[in-house]
Symmetry: C2
Subunit: 373 residues, 2 copies
């Protein structure tokens, strides 16, 4: 869901891509993104493509042909970054875990120490499973091994702390929709000084031109050397979305997402739905309750859409038919939405023959009441 | 300049990137783009990036490592496509011409026959010079040699006939701004059945994932297999811009661009400004009068912006200081704008010490009067 003010910003007249006003907008985007990313990285900008363009920019610029690229693989987007690593000639090694589980600090560190890669890739917020992957131990082990770390923050940025600097993440990318609540179309990206230094010193040929971060650095910084025509309206929208986040206060926003996530989980659990992901490593933005025994998830989801105008996604790959994927982010993450969603879920589950042992709404309300004391 | 209705369309609520409504919008975009491209190509779509992403998609998908890539080079964007060709491992060969000149049919055909490349690249509408490059002889010679042809139509699409099918162009890309008058953010692209067949049969590894046209084909066509999250709002905008073009009638639109371009040229010439580009190979969307002897083009352009709110670009590279680059496209291509522009130009030239021998406005008005008889 996109706030009206973001659409209004996108309707402002476009200026040229070398206009001083555009670079002022880009500067605002840089400063505001630094706050949500939790970083002081000077190279913090938005790529002119959607989230997967951010992923490809990270891989294309930092995984050189022949470089060992170690991926922690526990979901769909881990597979996508692996695929890109292969395409760019990386020597791919993977540590695999079942979808829905996070890597322990020890597992991640042991893998990286054993492999001694040049680049480590992981997904901090895995949209296919709802798993949040802790970053610090990965980054520490990678840095010990002299590796750069790429983190996918597509489903965490703006909805929960990604803490680039505190974790030591070198390269992170995200999307403009989801936690930032702007329409899709841009991919925020940030590079640590270490990553930027590495990039500037890279001597092997760079394949991609459109996503060449060295050229983008020269476009957005200092000389403003013409590279491509940026999608001006999307920058207007992203800036406005980030201003709205700054007004709410990014920490308040995270707290809101956390609170509503916990209330929703309390509701699901009261209705007898078990969460796929263990407590402590759940995303606040995307919830994955398991589909109860004997229930057809597609029928429930179709009913939710038809009768309640609520779109809930299903699992796919190894989780097909096994989980619901319930987004709760941006303006949608509110107490009203949580209780409305739980009521609708209960009605649809009942209609499909499942009898919840207790009311989800009441459990959520009890959670909110306890919180406000 | 973007019509208000396009901004209004971009403000409509976003839907999911796998929503049936989105694919309906994409279908409309396909059908409407076919008309402006002048093609029946089934693969006609918009890439989720700006014009240069379209260029990179064309090169990355069709220039295989080691393939001979013949570029007709007479401007800045010819150099860009050459650079991309090298990055993707193409064996680059170039036929060069001074900026501002077009290739004759004979020159182009001789070059292609001699080189026998796998892929030919050329820029139909060169933004850096104002040259329109005829396409038919290039495509005929390329097809004789068994080569595919890539055409850059960034500054022609929507403003003048690009005639993909009639010319035999295999791969063409453009941008959503300029002749289509939507904000920047998408790159229309079209592939001939021959190009599509070649793409599907390609066995060498494809580097780019985000711009992989085989994957995009599966996303937009038939199975709608998830690839990336498309910039939904930009698709709304592009569809509306194309609907506006359809309402005007694409041939009427071309005629309007042609008429106003000719009037503007008549005005410039009356003021004693010689055109860089020879008659017959001039773009209707971008005009390049030479800077008169003794005049500082930057001073004139700064004055135009400060006193008349008109942004005119300068030449660059070998044309720095030598030409003005005057865009006249979309809603801006109108009789009122032409006369207003000529008046402003005259005032600024006079202020910088140049005395036009005759009135540009009067020459333009005489042209319009002769046209309407």
């Amino acid at each position: 869901m996109v706030p009206e003010r973001v659409y209004a910003a996108m309707s402002k007249p476009v200026v040229g891509h070398l206009d001083a006003y555009f670079f002022q907008v880009a500067e605002d985007v840089r400063n505001l993104l630094q706050t949500v990313f939790g970083t002081e990285n000077a190279f913090t900008m938005a790529i002119s493509g959607t989230g997967s363009a951010g992923m490809e920019a990270a891989v294309a610029n930092f995984v050189e042909p022949g470089a060992k690229f170690a991926v922690l693989a526990n979901g769909f987007f881990c597979d996508r970054i692996s695929e890109m690593g292969k395409r760019y000639g990386g020597d791919l090694v993977r540590l695999e875990k079942p979808w829905g589980e996070a890597f322990s600090d020890q597992e991640a560190a042991d893998f990286i120490r054993a492999q001694k890669p040049q680049v480590v890739g992981f997904v901090q917020a895995e949209t296919s499973t709802g798993v949040f992957q802790a970053s610090k131990a990965i980054c520490d082990a990678a840095h010990e091994a002299g590796a750069l770390v790429i983190a996918d923050t597509v489903t965490s940025l703006g909805g929960m702390p990604v803490q680039i600097d505190a974790n030591g993440i070198d390269i992170a990318y995200s999307c403009s929709q989801k936690g930032l609540s702007c329409p899709p179309g841009l991919a925020p990206i940030t590079l640590s000084p270490r990553a930027l230094e590495w990039l500037r010193a890279r001597t092997t040929p760079r394949r991609t031109w459109y996503l060449d971060l060295k050229l983008l650095d020269e476009y957005y910084d200092g000389a403003h050397r013409y590279h491509h025509t940026a999608p001006i309206s999307m920058f207007y929208g992203l800036r406005e979305a980030l201003v709205a986040i700054a007004e709410e206060g990014v920490e308040n926003r995270w707290a809101r997402h956390c609170r509503n996530h916990l209330a929703l989980v309390a509701g699901f659990e009261a209705m007898g739905l078990r969460m796929l992901v263990a407590e402590g490593v759940r995303l606040w933005t995307l919830n994955t309750p398991r589909v109860p025994e004997g229930v057809d998830d597609l029928k429930v989801r179709k009913r939710l859409l038809a009768e309640h105008d609520i779109e809930v996604l299903g699992g796919f790959g190894p989780l097909a038919g096994k989980v619901f994927r319930v987004g709760l982010m941006g303006p949608l993450s509110s107490e009203d939405n949580v209780t409305m969603l739980l009521d609708a879920f209960e009605a649809c589950l009942r209609a499909e023959g499942y009898q919840p042992p207790a009311s989800g709404r009441e459990a959520a309300q009890a959670f909110y009441a306890a919180q406000s004391q």
